[in-house]
Amino acid sequence: MAKIGKTLLKLDNVTMKFGGVTALNGVNLEVKEGEILALIGPNGAGKTTVFNVITGVYKQTSGIVNFDGISLGNQKRYQVTALGVARTFQNIRLWGDMTALENVITATDVHKKSGLVGALFGLPRARREEAENRERAMEILRFIGIDEYSDRLAKNLPYGVQRRLEIARALGTSPKLVLLDEPAAGFNPAEKVELAATIKKVRDAGYTVLLIEHDMSLIMGISDRVVVLDFGTKIADDIPSVVQNDPRVIEAYLGVPADAS
């Protein structure tokens, strides 16, 4: 089991407004190296928005996002990825007309140097990098346990495999931090157990994980810490067993004060 280390990602008083809607309201969040941090909250709480702000899809209205000592405010999206943040999407966004392997290889390109000229003339570095990428991508598919699908087009893969391929593709960018947006959505209990094991395995391989998930039992089983959002505000941040019994959290989920029930 990986040791939990220094702070990798820090959101400092981040607010995100869409017109009149305040999706995030002064959120503070820290992710430490080597941990699995779960981000939970009712629908529309602003969980995906946290991911979108971190990865540069949206520019926060105010506040600072700091990753590994660098402020992400002025980074372009592809630069954020190059710095070591990768994500999956709540509604799967694979490149459907590419094979599973190609999806991952495309992600591995981010840290490579060769470009158009190398590709055109088949320069040695380009050839070497192509070979490295293919090998690395295959390795990741094996690691996630979907290597048998490597040559299938992403859009033809079974749903569960597509969800896993999203994780594989994110790992393809060799990130320090992986953001998983409801990776178990639509899974049956058996599949969820399997996925929980995979996420643990990912963490144990040295990646830090920030996980959005609705299923409490999955979260309780694997996460080191849980952060709860409600209407864009952080209402809890603690180890799972404490969060689970926090009256504010129960209220947020059930919509009634805990002691009234």
Partner: protein, 316 residues
């Protein structure tokens, strides 16, 4: 070079405002469709061109005017002008619905990618202009003069002509009516609901296909009205006039913020004035180039336009 601009400033300004109002109406065709579909109506320029032919056919073939007949007066004048306007709007409106039906609807139902729709739209606009080219044998078509270009008065050395006055006031009225329609009518509200959030509008029970068809129709009617005013002022049309008009009106729409009706108003007027001034200074052959440069500059520095939505929106 600039002396022309200074000497004739006021007459240029009046011409610019008249041209500007024509642009306002054509850019409504772009802006409204963009609002609901988030897609450029490539054929709007050809819808306009068909409208101009509707105008000429009315005076020439229905009322029997020729290049040599005397301009109309009194009640007859009003009758002919209004028929021309209605005909132009009807032709353009029908063409717009046809475009939506043939080029957009099927692809939307299938949910194909944007590229396919764009190509289909550009295809239909080529078909419309080529059809007219073959019908008119590539020749320009002059319009018999129905409205005499009387000089009403002179202000600051500028002649105020009847056709310009009619264009400015009637176009402004039509713009105003359309804006009211979108603001106040049930259908107008549905159109705005769809432009703001398609999914939410659908959940609220808006019939998407009807909204889209209506939007094309309304945009087509505005564009058709512009065709009538264009003929009143310039008295000539050709199968290929749509292109320049389309570029200018689209630029006006982007300048004002595409998808935004009020934006089309300001963008259109601005562009009309700019074009007239620029032609006076640089020569008319450069006006299309000026318009294009404005378009690129706007996209480069203010892609959301003056009042508009974000052009670059992405969701994840």
């Amino acid at each position: 070079m600039f002396s022309v601009l200074i000497d004739q400033f006021w007459s240029l300004t009046i011409a610019g405002v008249a041209l500007g109002f024509i642009y306002v109406l054509v850019s409504l065709g772009y802006t409204m469709v963009y609002g609901v579909l988030r897609m450029i109506n490539f054929a709007n320029s050809e819808i306009f061109m068909w409208g101009t032919f509707g105008t000429i056919v009315t005076s020439r073939d229905i009322f029997g005017y020729t290049q040599t007949s005397a301009p109309a007066t009194g009640g007859k004048l009003a009758l002919v002008l209004i028929s021309q306007l209605l005909m132009s709007m009807a032709v353009a409106g029908v063409t717009a619905i046809f475009v939506e039906y043939v080029a957009y609807r099927r692809l939307r139902a299938k949910g194909t990618n944007r590229l396919a729709t764009l190509i289909s739209a550009i295809g239909i606009s080529i078909v419309l202009s080529e059809l007219m080219r073959l019908l008119t044998d590539s020749r320009p078509v002059g319009s018999p003069r129905v409205l005499e270009k009387i000089i009403l008065t002179e202000v600051w050395g500028a002649n105020i002509r009847l056709d310009t006055v009619v264009t400015i006031f009637a176009a402004a009225l039509i713009y105003f009516l359309l804006e009211r329609f979108v603001k106040l009518s049930r259908m107008g509200k549905a159109i705005r609901a769809v432009s703001m959030n398609e999914d939410a509008a659908k959940l609220m029970g808006v019939n998407l296909n009807r909204v889209i068809t209506t939007t094309f129709l309304v945009g087509g009617l505005a564009t058709g009205a512009a065709g009538f005013f264009y003929i009143t002022v310039f008295e000539y049309t050709k199968f290929n006039i749509g292109f320049t008009m389309g570029m200018a009106a689209f630029t006006a729409a982007v300048l004002g913020g595409i998808g935004n009706i009020r934006g089309a108003f300001f963008g259109g007027l601005f562009l009309g004035l700019l074009e007239v001034y620029a032609s006076a200074v640089l020569g008319t052959q450069w006006k299309a180039v000026t318009v294009f440069i404005v378009l690129v500059l706007v996209l480069l520095f203010k892609p959301n336009g003056l009042f508009g939505e974000a052009v670059q929106t992405t969701r994840a």
